[in-house]
Structures are given as C-alpha cells and as structure tokens.
C-alpha cells in the first residue's frame, strides 16, 4: 500500500468551528414560525391499569390546541427489537416513564398547564421492583404474552462443567452486582415534528440511527417508509441511550394529525425518567482451575433487569454468550442467563453493551484465582487469554489479529512490571506515610466485539459524487450516519478523501437525513467507523472508477454489505458470531483511605489496539471519554430506584464525574494492528475504554486492602462499610 495521506492524520474536525462559535444547531435550537409546543404526560407510577383518561380540562386551557392519546395512533406499537411497547399507553402503564398522552399548545406554558389538568384514573397493580420479585411464583404478568415475566433467556453448554469442577484442583465462586447507569448526555431529548415540502411526516431530532427511528415512526403511523423523514442535526451525546426512540413517535403523531410544526424539549428530569439505562446485572460465577493455573471450567448464572420493555435487553444478554467468561479460554463452559421484565425503567444499550458488567465479574474472578493459586495476575492472564487461533465460548473462531497478549505485556511493562523467568513481578506502590492510606496496583484485560454480529444483517449505505473536468474539484459524500459527538462525519470524510486521493477540503458532506441517503445503521457497537467507513471506501472507489470512465459527474456507492455473521448455532464449528473485535488492558494504582473509603487514582495506564487510527486525536478522545464514564460508573454514579420510582432524576443527585474528579494523567499505550475486514484496517474504539476501569480499580483496591469488592459503585460509604465489615 502506498503511504496514506489523510487516514492516520490528526485533522481538525469539521463540526468544531460551528460548535465553538455557538452556531451548531441541536434539536432544541430549531424554531419555526407558527410552531406548537408539546408536553408529554408520563405515567408517574410504575404499574397500573388505566380506567379513564379525561382530557377535557386540559383542552379547556387557553392556548391548548389538542391532546393526543393512544386513539390518535394508527398502529399503537413501538420497539427497536421487539414491538412490546405502545406509543401512548391505552390500558396499562408498566414503568413511571411510560407516555400516556401529550398536550399540544401554542406556548410551552399552556402545554404545561394543560398537562397538569389531564385526569387519569388508575388502578395500581403490585409493583415488581426487581427481577427476583418478578420471577417469584404467582407474580403478576407485566406483559400477558411473556410468561413468568421472562423477557429472554440464553443457554450455552460446552464440555462437561460438573465433571471438570469436580476434578479441578481449586474451585472458587463469586456473586457480582453491577448497577444501572444513566447516560447523562448533556443534551436532553428534543425535537421538531413537521410536514416537509414533499408532504412527508418529518422529525428532526437527536438519535443514533435515522432509519431505525424512521421505521418505527412509519409503522406507528401505518405509512409507507418513503412518506416519513428523519433528520439529525448536531447531537449532544448518545452513548447507547438514544438507540431506542424517546420523543420521535409522539412528535410524528402530533405533526401528522395537526399538520403543523410541533416542538418538544425535555427537561433533565424528563430525560432521566424517559430513556433507558445501563442494565443492572447479577452475575454468579463458579470457576475450576488446575494448580498450575489452567482454567478448566466456568459455570455462569446471569440475571438482568430488563425493566418494563425489552428495548435491547435480549441483545445485551446474548452478548454474554461470549463475554460472560471475559477474554479467556475454558474447555468446559455452562452459561445460563435470564433477563426479566420488571416495573423498573427499561435497561437499554450503553457503551459496552453488557461488557462492562461481564468483564467486571470475570476479571475479579481471574484476580481471585491468581491470589488463591499464588500465580501473579499477569502470568495467569497470559496463560489463559485469547490469542491468535482462539475461539469464543460459542466455538466461533476469533477472526483478525488478536493483540491482547501483547497489550497485556505492553501495559504492565509501562507500569514497571518485570518478567522474571516464567513469572511477572508487579510494581509495588510506595506506601504513603499516613496510616489511613494504602496504595495498591491492579490490572484488567478484556475484549469487545465491534459490529452487531449474531447474524444480524449488517452493512451501510454511502454514495459519492464527483464534480470537475480534468481534476476532481468537489466530492459529495452522502451518508445517513449519525455523528453523536464522537466525530463520525469527519472520520468518514477522511476515508473518502484518502480513497479518492483528494485533499480533505474537497469532500463536502450531506448527512443524517433519510431523504438523501440510505441506512448506515446505528452508531452503536463501535461499528460506524468500521462499517460506515467501509461503505464510504467502496463508494469512493466506485465513484473513482466512474470518473476514470469519463463520467461527469461521476458517482459510486450504494449498499455495502458487511461480512456475514451467524447466530448461536448448535454446531460449534459453524459459528461465526462476529468478525471484528477491540482489545484493551488497563493498569491502575489507587490510594485508598481506609477510614473514609475514598479512592484516589494515582496512576493509570491504558493499552489499546485501534487497528489503524483514522484520526489519532479522536481515538484518544474516545478512549478518554469511555474511561471517565467508567470512572463515574465505578466510583460516583449511584443510580437509585425504590419501588419502581427513580430517586436520582437530577444531575444534583446523580453525580457524573466533574473536571475536579479526574486528576490522574492517563498514559496511553497504542499498538496498531490493522484488522482485515474493514477499510484501512480500522477497529472500533468507542466502547473498549469503558470496559476495563472498574475491574482494574477493584483489583488495585484489593492489592491495597486485601478486600475484594464485588459490587459497584465503590462510593466512599460503601468502601468504608465493607472494609469495616472485613476488619471485624
């Protein structure tokens, strides 16, 4: 390959100028003459039958134009994966963020006044506030057609786990609990619904996949998909929380019924109550190993809280079929996982898609095994982790170069670890003089699939049109890909410029509008740079061929199909569940105040393989952002529900990291090992940074205090309490 000119360069993102001068337009920043304002009425109670919905008083408020309800929705169904939710509840509400109706008025004040006067007669039902309660014999059904409130179940068996555990030199067990997490993207949900100049029902909002939003809107309105349009402007963060629709369907119904522009802007409280959360998981492991540190058997029981609707609960659980055992190899495996409907807020996608939860548990297990066997944490990981030629728990070959072993070595070497024969000597942090403070060192290693996998059809649409005579003067790149803030559009422009051999400035982008491009699929599963990028490369190559054929303008592109994957197949040999992966290793030194329970990070090293960094600055930016989100999940964020009610519905009660909380300078070790399935060998980097901090910190705390923590978050109170219990 000739040397790359644009891919691999830190170039200025094309959206940033508008963002620093205040000209970028987010969903709430759009105002059009004559627009109406919408206030959505939430259930406010976790489980109840609706006996009567009386909108008369609301309609009588001066300025109120209409109140839209279930009766206004032609096909009152929504759902990204499973159509188990209504646009507006008609008979029953299943969590407090369920939408019952929406008041539309000529001012926000009138809409709010009307919303307060909507009268709903409810009959409260028993609240199933946890998976355990929902699975209890005789528990009421949240959805009539899902017996036992079981939302989804996975099972996988390889070898003979019971026999292997019986024969193992050592068997250890553990139970791990991980909490919900709020995305807390800075931009609350908002949008404008209207009828466009071609008569299409149009929603301009913030999301992760224009075409997934469109599909659900078209289905609810019973319209052909070409009569609906979805447009994204600047998007204020997403992290998985915008995969499921929030305001989209309500806006579309309102605009379609009233034939007028309708705007909605959620408050922070509405955002927190109204969109899904990272799933709470309970994970039970029993592992058997030989005295020499070979992993022999893993038995894993998994229970997650799906909340009131599936959203992506089933898909997040399916990912445990490989990630439950971390990035390790076991000859005998038994996995049994259930996600359960409850009256809590739905669990949904969140950066890592189950891997932060699974890797937290499996990395602590390997750490405990290392301690129990007296084998250092590096050696036991290198002995058992995936390497070139390894397979997943399902039997699927792990395609592409597997950099994990060398990332482990690179990371711990940077931290000061030294290889001594067959063992590694880890750095011993210098202990502080204060008698209350102890320092410790810990590591965590892991992997995360890029792309959906599991046989889900995947690919991406892109089109490139070239203008000029002798030379290409201008290239238009059409893509519907969302730029949720991670810089997708700039990266895709770099790939187009590189493939076309033109300077970056010549690439003009027409983006995020279903009217101008086919589906790119969602910005999720760390997939947009690998698959969206591959589609752009193919489109640019096609346009270049057309150019060389003297076509003016020249064009190329269309739907680009990603390599096929399979669902879990009984024939282990036939599985190919993913085709691309990200790997990472984190090493952390912490200082624990054993009296107050406060944790301070004193050193942090993160080793990753981005395949090839299209924009190195953005790669580091993704890793930094994921890492700090993980610090929040691990240390400060404490999402609380009680009896189905969310108690942390504000940023003053749900504490995401501030700039003052992040004082450790993280050292990045970047090892580029290009992948063989994607354009320019890129790998996903969006999620892997989120996956490793929690277990690395837990390992470091153990090194400092001798206590293993198996439950997040590690707030000062929870750490101090646990240390006190342990001392007794």
């Amino acid at each position: 390959m000739t040397e790359l000119q644009v891919v691999g360069q830190t170039v200025v993102r094309r959206d940033n100028r508008a963002k620093v001068i205040g000209e970028a337009r987010y969903a709430a920043d759009i105002a059009v003459p004559g627009m109406l304002h919408m206030k959505i009425v939430f259930a406010g109670r976790p489980h109840a039958l609706i006996h009567r919905l009386d909108t008369a008083a609301a309609r009588a408020v001066p300025g109120v134009v209409d109140v839209i309800t279930a009766a206004d929705v032609p096909v009152n169904v929504r759902g990204l994966i499973r159509p188990d939710q209504t646009v507006f509840c008609d008979k029953k509400v299943r969590f407090e963020g369920d939408q019952v109706c929406a008041v539309i008025a000529d001012s926000i004040e009138a809409a709010e006044a009307g919303a307060r006067l909507v009268h709903i007669e409810y009959e409260d039902l028993p609240i199933l506030a946890s998976p355990e309660e929902a699975m209890r014999e005789g528990a009421p059904l949240i959805h009539d057609d899902w017996p036992g409130n079981i939302c989804y179940r996975i099972q996988l068996n390889k070898g003979d786990v019971d026999a292997a555990l019986a024969a193992a030199d050592i068997v250890i067990s553990g139970e791990f609990n991980t909490p919900m997490q709020e995305h807390a993207y800075l931009e609350p949900e908002a949008g404008l619904g209207y009828i466009d100049e071609e008569g299409r029902v149009t929603v301009r909002t913030s999301g992760q996949a224009t075409h997934d939003d469109l599909r659900q809107i078209a289905a609810a309105l019973d319209l052909p998909e070409d009569r609906v349009r979805v447009i994204y402007g600047a998007i204020g963060g997403a992290f998985g929380g915008r995969e499921d629709i929030s305001v989209q369907a309500a806006l579309a119904v309102a605009a379609w019924k009233l034939r007028r522009p309708v705007k909605v802007v959620w408050s922070r409280e509405e955002s927190i109550v109204g969109h899904g959360k990272r799933h709470a998981y309970t994970i039970r492991h029993t592992w058997g190993a030989s005295r020499a540190g070979e992993l022999l058997a893993a038995k894993v029981d998994i229970l997650s809280d799906a909340g009131a609707y599936n959203y992506t609960s089933s898909e997040v659980l399916i990912n445990f079929l490989y990630s439950a055992i971390g990035a390790y190899q076991f000859p005998n495996i038994s996995i049994d996982g259930v996600t359960v409907y409850t009256n809590n807020i739905p669990g949904c996608a969140f950066r890592g898609f189950g891997s932060p939860q699974s890797i937290f548990a499996s990395e602590i297990m390997i750490g405990r095994l290392s301690e129990a066997l007296g084998i250092d944490p590096v050696t036991i990981r290198l002995k058992n982790c995936v390497h070139n030629g390894s397979t997943l728990a399902t039997g699927a070959p792990i395609s592409g170069y597997i950099a994990l072993p060398e990332l482990i070595e690179a990371c711990v070497e940077r931290a000061g670890a030294v290889r001594e024969g067959a063992r590694w000597r880890l750095p011993r942090p210098q202990q502080p003089l204060s008698p209350n403070k102890r320092r410790g060192f810990g590591i965590a290693a892991g992997m995360k699939n890029s792309g959906f996998g599991w046989g889900v059809p995947e690919g991406s649409y892109a089109r490139v049109v070239l203008y000029g005579k002798e030379e290409i003067e201008r290239a238009e790149l059409y893509t519907a890909a969302a730029d949720v803030g991670q810089g997708t559009h700039s990266v895709l422009a770099q790939i187009a410029a590189e493939t076309l051999g033109v300077p970056l400035e010549k690439v003009e982008m027409i983006v995020s509008d279903t009217a101008s491009a086919g589906s790119s699929g969602p910005c999720s599963a760390s997939r947009m740079t690998i698959w969206g990028g591959s589609a752009v490369e193919a489109a640019a190559a096609g346009a270049l061929a057309s150019w060389q054929n003297e076509d003016r303008p020249a064009s190329g592109g269309g739907w680009w199909e990603a390599p096929k994957t399979t669902p879990l197949l009984p024939d282990r040999e036939a599985n190919m569940n993913f085709v691309s992966y990200a790997y990472g290793v984190h090493a952390v030194e912490v200082e624990v105040d054993v009296e107050t329970g406060e944790i301070e990070l004193t050193r942090f090293i993160a080793a990753h393989d981005p395949g090839r960094a299209v924009n190195p600055q953005q790669v580091i930016g993704q890793l930094q952002g994921g890492l700090v989100q993980a610090l929040g999940w691990t240390l400060t964020e404490n999402f609380q529900t009680h009896g189905g009610h969310i108690r942390t519905d504000r940023l003053s009660t749900y504490l995401i990291p501030t700039i003052a909380d992040v004082s450790v300078p993280v050292e990045y070790v970047i090892v580029e090992r290009p992948d063989d399935v994607s354009a320019y060998g890129v790998r996903g980097v969006g999620e892997i940074g989120m996956v490793l901090p929690a277990p690395a910190i837990a390992a470091a705390i153990h090194d400092a205090t001798g206590v293993w923590f198996d439950r997040l978050p590690l707030t000062p109170e929870s750490v101090a309490t646990r240390l006190m219990e342990h001392a007794r």
Partner: protein
C-alpha cells in the same frame, strides 16, 4: 401573565425586551434574542451548559431571572469571535480536540474566558476549580485542560506582540 421589561447589553449590542417575569436569562437569550449557543442542560445550575458572562463573571443563565439582567452586560458564545477571528480559547478547543458533542463547549469556553481574565497562566488545579461547574460527558476533560493551557500560551504571546 406578569411581564417585565429588561434593558441589557448582549455581545455589545443593546436590547430592550419585554418578556414573562418568570423567564430566566437562559430563555430570554434563546427565545427572545434567538441566541441558541447558550444551552439548556438541566435548569438547576448543575451542568453549566448555559454559562454566560454577566458583567464579566461566569453565571448559570438558568439561575438568573431575566429581570436580574436589567442594566447589565452579557457575553454569550456568539459574542467571542471578533469578526471572523476566533477567540484564542475557541481556537484552542478545536486544536486540542476538546470538543466532541459540543453541547457543553460554549459554557466551558466562557468559564475559561473568565478564568484567564483572572489567572492568565493557570495551573491544572486552578483550571479544575474554575471549570468544576461545567459538566462534560464525552471528553473525559483531559483535552479541555490542554485547550485552556494552549489558549493561555497563545494569549500570552499576543500580549507580548501588543
């Protein structure tokens, strides 16, 4: 509905606005003056996305009633660039890669402007203290600190040239 008439200077321009008495400065800027660069992230002074300079001091515009801005001078993100020339902080945020989704960016830049007025050469600790009221969920903050230092350096050079 009670109304209030407010006379204020925004980005150097005088405005007289009659608006709802309960309206905050945030929504006066957005709804009445159509300055959408000031963002609404929480309406309770927790996120800092609505930070503007009020008589040179950074405030959460969501916690200031429109009436309280009467007779005062407001600077929003739209008022920082002189003609087409970016403020050094705007330039530095771009260069350092300190912008991802960008929703927190206007507030962070304005808080940084106020910081550099007071402390032209801030250390990490001073930067952290000055920006602790501005939440960012994308960047992890490291590049924001780099951007502020970069801008401080640039501004010091400009002063030398002057």
């Amino acid at each position: 509905m009670n109304e209030v008439t407010v006379t204020l200077t925004v980005n150097g321009q005088a405005h007289t606005v009659t608006t709802a008495a309960q309206k905050t400065l945030l929504y006066l800027l957005r709804d009445d003056l159509h300055l959408y660069g000031t963002k609404d992230g929480c309406r309770e002074g927790e996120c800092g996305a609505c930070t503007v300079l009020l008589d040179g001091r950074p405030v959460n515009a969501c916690l200031v009633l429109a009436g309280q801005a009467d007779g005062r001078e407001v600077v929003t993100i739209e008022g920082l660039a002189a003609d087409d020339r970016l403020h050094p902080l705007q330039h530095a945020f771009i260069q350092a890669g300190a912008v991802q989704c960008g929703f927190c960016t206007p507030g962070l830049i304005l808080s940084s402007v106020a910081l550099l007025e007071q402390h032209p050469h801030p250390d990490d600790q001073q930067i952290r203290r000055a920006l602790t009221g501005n939440l960012c969920r994308c960047t992890g903050y490291t590049k924001i600190i780099e951007a502020v230092k970069l801008a401080a350096g640039e501004m010091a050079m400009e002063v030398e040239h002057d």
